[in-house]
């Protein structure tokens, strides 16, 4: 099964038995995505603490 990444639109495969709340990583932009919904498959950007780069 696959869905598109909310961040960059890439096609993100989630394997054949995804679970709600499962974390997958987008192959293009590396963003961590959470399986929000199974029917239809929906991905949302997983909550991740925004590291402060502070140069």
């Amino acid at each position: 099964m696959a869905s598109s990444c909310p961040e960059c639109g890439a096609n993100v495969g989630v394997g054949n038995k995804p679970m709600a709340g499962e974390i997958v990583q987008c192959p293009d932009c590396g963003t961590e995505l959470e399986v929000k919904n199974l029917q239809p498959l929906e991905l949302a950007v997983a909550p991740a603490e925004e590291e402060d780069w502070g140069e």
């Binding site: 961040e7 960059c8 639109g9 890439a10 293009d28 932009c29 590396g30 963003t31 991740a48 590291e51």
Partner: protein
């Protein structure tokens, strides 16, 4: 396959040797250098110690080969092409001498008329991501300027998608390493003077501008270069005016369509981690060009970031990639080194 390198003692010549020594299809390699004739190649390229006992040949000792790489100082290939052209079926000139399509551009950017303008049309600009089909059947290829390669590959998808506002200039800034200057040392490259430099050595009038305007088919590119504390590497930052509003998803689509299938271009734009946008540090020795972009929230402007190793994708690696295309080999043959981290 037999390959000859003319001018094999310089930095690009050394990278051609390093790559071709590990190339599956190259069975015979000649390394010609007038200044180092008779010496082992590793005396000029110490990384090749115990790797080969090949010695430099004087130019007149060169035997015919299938492919001839010219790694000569600018101006020499123009004048001496006839001496070497006949040596091989395919000739790849890494210098600037046959890069531009308009002869007049040489007067503007190189300060002197081209001695053989009629030849310019015989050369194909040898970046496969730009001219792969033409390169397949080409018999004469020119390498590309390293800064030009970085800027062009960064902006190309936008140019092809026709989203650039052609009425405004593209402003591009490259941060460059000291190996761009080649093997010749000078007062300015003396370590106490060069180390720690953040030096605007070509704020305007940089020669690579001509290639950027030519290959991006954009009327005006304003390019400037700053040397920084780095030996290998180019980081180009291009400010591109957009003809219409675009959102991030649209930009991702443009870059994905342009580069997903390219073996040597990676789209790098990540929200987390240390290496979120392209940078040359992890590219040294690899043939990758990393490209990223950031949409200006104030609209109609995107900043494109691109990085390469100036000696590999900016010179030797790209020319081997082009040779692979022209000879019908796997385009990645001999170019598998992925770079180092950290």
């Amino acid at each position: 396959m037999r390959v000859a390198i003319v001018g094999a003692a310089g930095y690009t010549g050394g990278e051609l040797l390093r790559i071709l020594l590990d190339h599956p299809q190259v069975s015979e390699l000649q390394a010609a250098s007038e200044s180092q004739a008779g010496k082992f190649v590793w005396s000029a390229h110490p990384n090749l110690r115990k790797r080969t006992d090949l010695a430099f040949l004087p130019y007149d000792a060169l035997r015919p080969a299938d492919v001839v790489f010219l790694a000569l100082p600018h101006g020499e290939a123009m004048r001496r092409l006839d001496e070497f052209r006949g040596l091989g079926t395919l000739c790849v000139d890494l210098s600037a001498d046959h890069r531009l399509r308009q002869a007049s551009a040489y007067d503007v950017w190189y300060g002197a008329p081209h001695p053989h303008p009629e030849r310019l049309a015989e050369f194909v600009y040898g970046i496969p991501e730009l001219h792969r089909e033409q390169i397949r059947t080409a018999r004469q290829l020119s390498g590309a300027g390293c800064n030009a390669t970085a800027v062009i590959l960064g902006v190309l998808p936008l140019a092809r998608a026709g989203v650039i506002d052609r009425s405004r200039p593209i402003v591009a800034e490259a941060k460059v390493g000291s190996s761009e200057g080649g093997r010749e040392s000078s007062e300015a490259t003396h370590h106490p003077e060069r180390a720690g430099a953040v030096r605007s050595f070509a704020p305007v009038g940089h020669r690579h501008t001509a290639e950027m305007e030519q290959e991006l088919a954009h009327p005006r590119v304003d390019f400037s270069a700053t040397s920084i504390e780095m030996v290998r590497g180019v980081l180009a930052t291009a400010h591109v005016p957009l003809a219409r509003e675009l959102d991030e998803k649209a930009l991702w689509r443009i870059y994905r369509e342009a580069y997903a299938a390219e073996p040597f271009v990676r789209v790098v734009k990540e929200r987390t981690g240390i290496y979120r946008y392209p940078e040359p540090k992890i590219l040294s020795g690899s043939n990758y060009c990393d490209v990223g972009f950031a949409l200006d929230p104030r609209g109609q402007r995107v900043v494109v970031v691109s990085a390469i190793d100036n000696l590999v994708k900016g010179a030797a690696g790209n020319c081997v990639q082009a040779m692979n295309v022209a000879c019908g080999f796997d385009e990645t043959a001999g170019l598998g080194f992925p770079g180092l981290h950290p």
